[in-house]
């Protein structure tokens, strides 16, 4: 069986500076795969390239059997790839409901959209309570929930989450991680980018450690979690 997402020797450059220097990895349907690494390792650049916001300077991306490299960003979501961006990027002056509906922008099944909005409220009850509120008034954690809920609205084959725990309180972070576990249990395929290596590796099937644009270590999440070099570099142990 071929993987849902296949990334081969991907390179991305900002002008002359190469931020991603030839990485390869794959995501199988039903898996949770995580990219971990410090700031500037190229994790966000990788996700932004997968969703078409950046153009690769080399390599190949194959999603669901189709090459992605030159597909414009607004056509990617239709293929089944949803992206919850770093920093959440909810639409601040639209309501929560409107944000969720925008996640389903390309869908035409009104009843189905309505049902999925309701499902997002079930997943995150706080969003349901505030549905008519402008999204910019939500707390950081609530905005993160909204960003995730919005990404799910396109019924993606692959959900990409960029730093969902960034800047959140420990309680909120835990809630977000629990949600990812729930989504995983429901069979959602997830590509998770995180700085919180402990949390990400403990729920991932497969993990990749990125350093300055390269993947330096790969393996099952639980293996990496117990890998000595990973523990030293990312889990703050001596």
């Amino acid at each position: 069986m071929t993987a849902l997402l296949e990334v081969e020797d991907l390179r991305v450059a900002y002008g002359k500076i190469e931020a991603v220097k030839g990485i390869s990895f794959s995501v199988e349907a039903g898996q949770v795969v995580t990219l971990i690494g410090t700031n500037g390792a190229g994790k966000t650049t990788t996700l932004r390239t997968l969703s078409g916001l950046l153009k690769p300077s080399g390599g190949r991306i194959t999603f669901d059997g189709k090459p992605l490299g030159s597909v414009p960003a607004h056509k990617i979501v239709a293929l089944g790839l949803a992206h919850s961006p770093e920093g959440r990027h909810i639409f601040p002056r639209l309501t929560i409901t409107e944000n969720l509906q925008l996640g389903a922008f390309l869908r035409t099944d009104k009843a189905g959209i309505e049902k999925d909005v309701q499902r997002a409220y079930d997943l995150f009850p706080i969003l349901g309570e505030r549905r008519k509120q402008a999204a910019g008034t939500l707390s950081g954690g609530e905005q993160q929930m909204l960003a995730m809920g919005r990404a799910l609205m396109s019924q993606p084959k692959l959900l990409m989450l960029d730093e969902p725990s960034m800047g959140l309180s420990p309680i909120m972070m835990q809630k977000i991680m629990e949600t990812i576990v729930e989504l995983k249990a429901a069979g959602t395929t997830i590509l998770l980018v995180e700085q919180n290596a402990q949390a990400a590796l403990s729920l991932a099937d497969q993990g990749h450690v990125m350093e300055v644009g390269k993947i330096v270590l790969s393996g099952p999440g639980s293996d990496l979690l117990h890998d000595e070099s990973v523990r030293k570099a990312y889990l703050g142990e001596d």
Binding site: S51, G52, L53, P72, A73, H74, K75, I76, V77, A78, A82, H83, P85, G87, R88, H89, I90, F91, P92, R93, L94, E98, Q101, L102, G103, F105, L106, A134, G136, T137, G140, Q143, R150, S154
Partner: protein, 310 residues
Amino acid sequence: MHELPQQLANGLALGALYGLIAIGYTMVYGIVQLINFAHGEIFMIGGFGALTTYIMLPSGTTLLVAIPLMIIGGAIASVAVATAAERFAYRPLRGAPRLAPLITAIGLSIVLQQLVWGFYPDAKKPRSFPEFQGESFKLLDNLYLQRADAFVLVLAPLCMLALGLFVAKSRSGRAMQATAQDPDTAKLMGINTDRIIVMAFAIGAAFAAVASVAYGLDKGQINFEMGFILGLKAFTAAVLGGIGNIYGAMVGGVVLGLAEALSIAYIEEIPGMEQLGGGAWANVWAFVLLIVVLLVRPQGLLGERVTDRA
């Protein structure tokens, strides 16, 4: 104070005209953060498109039939020029430093003026435009409404209402709001932001065409330079109301129009300011108002501070 109602009516009509043009500045700014200084010329080209349409109509066509066709003809011309400008002048500069498209806009404004001056028949001097025949409407003893003023006072709110509904309720309107608030994320939702940007230019141009017909009907003439000062005033209105906000454009226009009308009528009655009233000083007072408002509310009357980016 006997003539106050009349002055208010004049101010409102002028303000509605400013507001219609201001929509074009505010929509484009709201979505691509570009001050399209060529928008005054888009307005002017709408006028010449409408005039061309009128000339092509069989003689004896009544104004009632002619006006809708003139608006359509004017809008075709203005929308064509505005979207071409977006495609060939502004789009290649997206991502360039802000000054580049700004200078381009100013250059484009001069080019468009000169093209009309040089190539439109007899456009080197003002060309006469059809006018409303017949009496003004008498609303009160001291309030007469000219037909051209009535025209813009009816049409501007209708256009605004339609635009407001479009932005708030339609799928494209929602996409437009998303693009204005966060263009990259809008793309992630599947929104073709290039199309939305073209749409913003086109709507602004169509509104400018409506304004140009109203202006021509009022003055009885149009000329290749008319977009300059009206464009500047409409831009002022957009900033006054809070640039990026479509209702702000209309509110700013009306405030500016009223301020001009009242300054023309009443400033010279203030002891010591006899020299500073009348039509010659109206522009000065309009810009004084702008400066005062921006000192107190830099974001404009209905503008919002950008604090909500998390």
